[in-house]
């Protein structure tokens, strides 16, 4: 029974009954506690029913009676079938209370359903609360900033409306890659001048944003590099640095091509100011236009240099001319002379100019003729050299003509020797070639083998990367589930030890088994006894019948035998009566035992004392009633 009590007490505590720590069985329950427990249970089971019930007993007897009666009524409404009245609560006896509480605890709604109900309700309640708050804020009228009370401050201030601005930050860590020669200067700067990150931004609001932005950009750059390296970098079979430099040169080439193609049309049509339509060339123009950034951003094409050069020259010339002209104008009295002089000078100048033009034209002409003459000379020289060669060959043949046959033979032998030598050389070449080709093939094979090997390793590396990714994901997932389970475990009630329950249940089951075995044993015993009894009665009947027959036959002949037959009949009858009596005694004894048990249970129910108490209560109520009646009469 202790286990049952523990479970009951635990359930009651969960419902909200304040059961003291030292109470661990129903025997120790006071009637106050019983009333509280029952009321709370009824409230949880059916909130409408228990709402009106008080959790504590009032002092007055009649009030107590009323509370007890309504409680009993509530229990019956919930569905309790057992005997129940107000005395059950006021003058408790253990088994009744236990059966009542067990019924109520079984009727309690399951916890899980309750929890899910609650969570759905919670979010709905939250949303309703948010909506209500928003409605209230919308309903409040807007107040100009100067008139705002602290009440408005929370909803109408603009303090929370910082727009996000990012500023570049400088960290000592990230510039570690800078070249070594300036390390001292860099260190000095970091130590003496560089402010902490919180002071680097112009406002506090942008500090966090800047740091986050910086971190995010670094992270994404690292991830991108990682992806690229895994997908393309590994396949290229270069070290990371080599891969980077190669990519850089490729990109540079591409950009150069693009820029060149975009810049070409603009340089053609540059004198007419109309700019080419393509956006890139426009951009290039703007770069050219902005003077301070010019030498930084673009080195400037050939065209811009020439343009600049010509412009500066012209402006310089203009600057040189202007003071001279100004000087002449200032002298008024010698103006005429000067004008004459000017005219003559201009004439002279024009003449000189035309002379110069003519001379340059002559020079050009001369240059052209000179070039032509030079060309002719070269051609002639070439023709001479050819003629010389031809002449020498002819000379040799003429020398050889007188001894023609001999010379022919000699020539033939020479040709043969040459052919032989060629064959010889070819054989030698073959001799050398064969091993070289073998070597070449071998090396080629090795190369392809290595290629295969490296391909295999590459694919292995790739699969490893994939595996790493998958397993990290898995680990993350598992960690998450672990966390979730841990939180679930924590949220579960801890005071109910499941193992104790199961152990107890197993014990009970084994007990029941033992009892069942014993019962079957006893049953078989009774069956055997019954059988024996049946056997004996059968035997007795048969013996009696045989004896009866024998004696009856003889009784017709003999008087004394007749007497003995009478005795036999009497004996049989008496024995039957005896057996009947014994059986009757047995039933009566059983009945007596039943009655005794009933008496005992009734005694356990303390009926007498309860009755006395009820009588007392009745008297008390009557007294109260009479007192009240007296009061009424007095009043």
């Amino acid at each position: 029974m202790e286990e049952v009590d523990k479970i009951l007490i635990h359930a009651l505590r969960q419902v909200g009954t304040e059961v003291a720590e030292e109470v661990d069985s129903l025997k120790q329950f006071s009637s106050e506690l019983i009333v509280e427990a029952v009321v709370r249970c009824v409230r949880v089971i059916e909130s409408g029913l228990g709402g009106a019930l008080p959790t504590s007993l009032p002092p007055g007897m009649s009030a107590r009676f009323r509370v007890g009666m309504s409680l009993a009524q509530a229990c019956q409404d919930v569905g309790y079938k057992g005997e129940i009245g107000y005395q059950t609560f006021l003058y408790s006896n253990e088994p009744e209370i236990r059966s009542l509480l067990m019924f109520l605890v079984e009727k309690l709604p399951r916890e899980r359903a309750e929890a899910s109900d609650q969570s759905a309700g919670k979010s709905a309640v939250l949303q309703r609360a948010i909506a209500a708050a928003l409605r209230a804020q919308l309903a409040a009228s807007w107040v100009p900033p100067n008139c705002r009370l602290p009440l408005h401050w929370e909803t109408q201030s603009q303090g929370a409306l910082h727009s996000l601005h990012v500023q570049p930050l400088s960290f000592p860590l990230c510039s570690k890659a800078s070249d070594r020669k300036h390390l001292k200067d860099v260190k000095d700067y970091h130590r003496d001048v560089l402010p902490p990150v919180t002071a680097q931004t112009s406002g506090h609001a942008s500090t966090a944003a800047s740091i986050l932005e910086r971190h995010a950009s670094e992270l994404s750059a690292a991830q991108e590099w990682d992806n690229e390296w895994k997908s393309q970098g590994l396949l290229s079979r270069l070290t990371p640095q080599e891969y980077c430099s190669r990519k850089l040169t490729r990109l540079r080439k591409r950009i150069e091509e693009q820029l060149r193609s975009a810049a070409a049309p603009s340089s053609e049509s540059a004198f007419a100011v109309s700019r080419s339509t393509s956006e890139l060339s426009e951009l290039l123009q703007t770069f050219r236009g902005s003077a301070p950034s010019n030498h930084v951003l673009t080195k400037g094409s050939h065209f811009t240099h020439t343009q600049k050069f010509s412009f500066t020259q012209e402006t310089a010339a203009a600057a040189a001319l202007s003071p001279v002209l100004a000087g002449r104008h200032s002298e008024g009295d010698v103006q005429l002379r000067q004008e004459e002089e000017l005219a003559s000078l201009q004439q002279q100048f024009q003449q000189l100019c035309s002379d110069v033009d003519q001379l340059t034209a002559d020079m050009k002409h001369l240059n052209v003729t000179n070039a032509q003459v030079l060309d002719e000379l070269k051609q002639r020289e070439l023709g001479n050299a050819e003629d010389d060669e031809k002449m020498q060959v002819k000379k040799k043949t003429v020398d050889l003509l007188p001894d023609a046959e001999n010379n022919l033979l000699k020539l033939q032998s020479l040709v043969e020797g040459g052919a032989k030598r060629v064959v010889n050389l070819a054989a030698q070449w073959e001799k050398h070639r064969a091993p070289l080709i073998d070597e070449y093939r071998r090396l080629k094979e090795i190369c392809s083998n290595k290629d295969l090997e490296s391909n295999r390793k590459l694919s292995e590396i790739k699969s490893l990367h994939e595996k790493i990714r998958v397993s990290t994901e898995e680990a993350k997932k598992k960690e998450e589930t672990h966390k979730q389970l841990v939180t679930e475990l924590e949220s579960l009630p801890k005071d109910v030890s499941r193992s104790a329950y199961t152990q107890r249940i197993l014990e009970i089951v084994s007990n029941i088994k033992k009892q069942k075995e014993e019962i079957t044993k006893i049953l078989s015993d009774t069956k055997e006894l019954q059988k024996e009894i049946n056997n004996l009665t059968g035997k007795l009947d048969r013996t009696f019948a045989v004896t009866d027959e024998l004696v009856f036959k003889d009784a017709k002949k003999d008087e004394s035998v007749r007497k003995s037959y009478k005795y036999l009949a009497a004996l049989h009858e008496n024995c039957n009566q005896l057996i009947q009596t014994i059986e009757d005694t047995g039933t009566i004894l059983r009945e007596i035992r039943d009655l005794e048990e009933q008496i005992e249970t009734e005694n356990g129910n303390k009926t007498v004392s309860n009755l006395e108490r009820i009588l007392d209560d009745y008297k008390a109520i009557r007294q109260e009633n009479s007192a009240l009646a007296a009061k009424i009469r007095e009043g």
Partner: protein, 176 residues
């Protein structure tokens, strides 16, 4: 013009140069109010222009220390050394800033972006809506002027935006 630098002490010169570099890197530039007693407005502007151009040129064209010193020929040697040391110390920062400038060569560039996730609980017609909305604000620098662009998107619109951005990113990756 560079002899304007001689009017302040050596340490002040270092500080000023660092502030100039800060301004070049997108942080707070030096304030004129701090130096109004030393230089007139015109001198101040001249000096700032000169220093900025010097730093840009020195890092962008990667010229040697001697050439830098030659450009600073009419400044005290100690001041010139100070400028040079600042240049050395901040070389990486200036380089990053210049690279950034070159990267942002298109007509409009994204300066900052911010987002807010909102949950619309109800509207004027429907009592319970429960629709998530994303407010996205972009600060776009267009021809040197900052132009804020703000938009609000539902879930489908957001996914459309993200997919188009991903396609753009793919194109950029192909360019690489």
């Amino acid at each position: 013009m560079t002899d304007l630098l001689n009017r302040i002490s050596n340490t002040d010169c270092t500080k000023l140069c660092h502030r100039v570099v800060d301004g070049l890197c997108g942080r707070e530039p030096p304030r004129r109010a701090d130096y109004s007693a030393t230089w007139s407005l015109q001198e101040w502007l001249q000096l700032l222009d000169f220093l900025t151009a010097l730093f840009r040129l020195a890092v962008g064209s990667n010229i040697s220390d001697e050439e830098v010193l030659a450009k600073l020929s009419d400044v005290n040697s100690s001041h010139a050394d100070a400028v040079l040391s600042v240049l050395r110390a901040r070389q990486q920062d200036i380089r990053c800033a210049l690279l950034d400038r070159t990267n942002n060569i298109s007509s409009a560039t994204l300066q900052d972006f911010d987002w807010q996730l909102k949950l619309a609980l109800s509207s004027d017609k429907i009592s319970s809506l429960n629709t998530p909305l994303l407010g996205l604000s972009l600060d776009v620098r267009e021809n040197g002027a900052l132009r804020p662009v703000t938009m609000e998107m539902s879930t489908e619109e957001l996914s459309t935006l993200i997919s188009s951005l991903e396609a753009a990113n793919k194109m950029v990756l192909q360019l690489k």
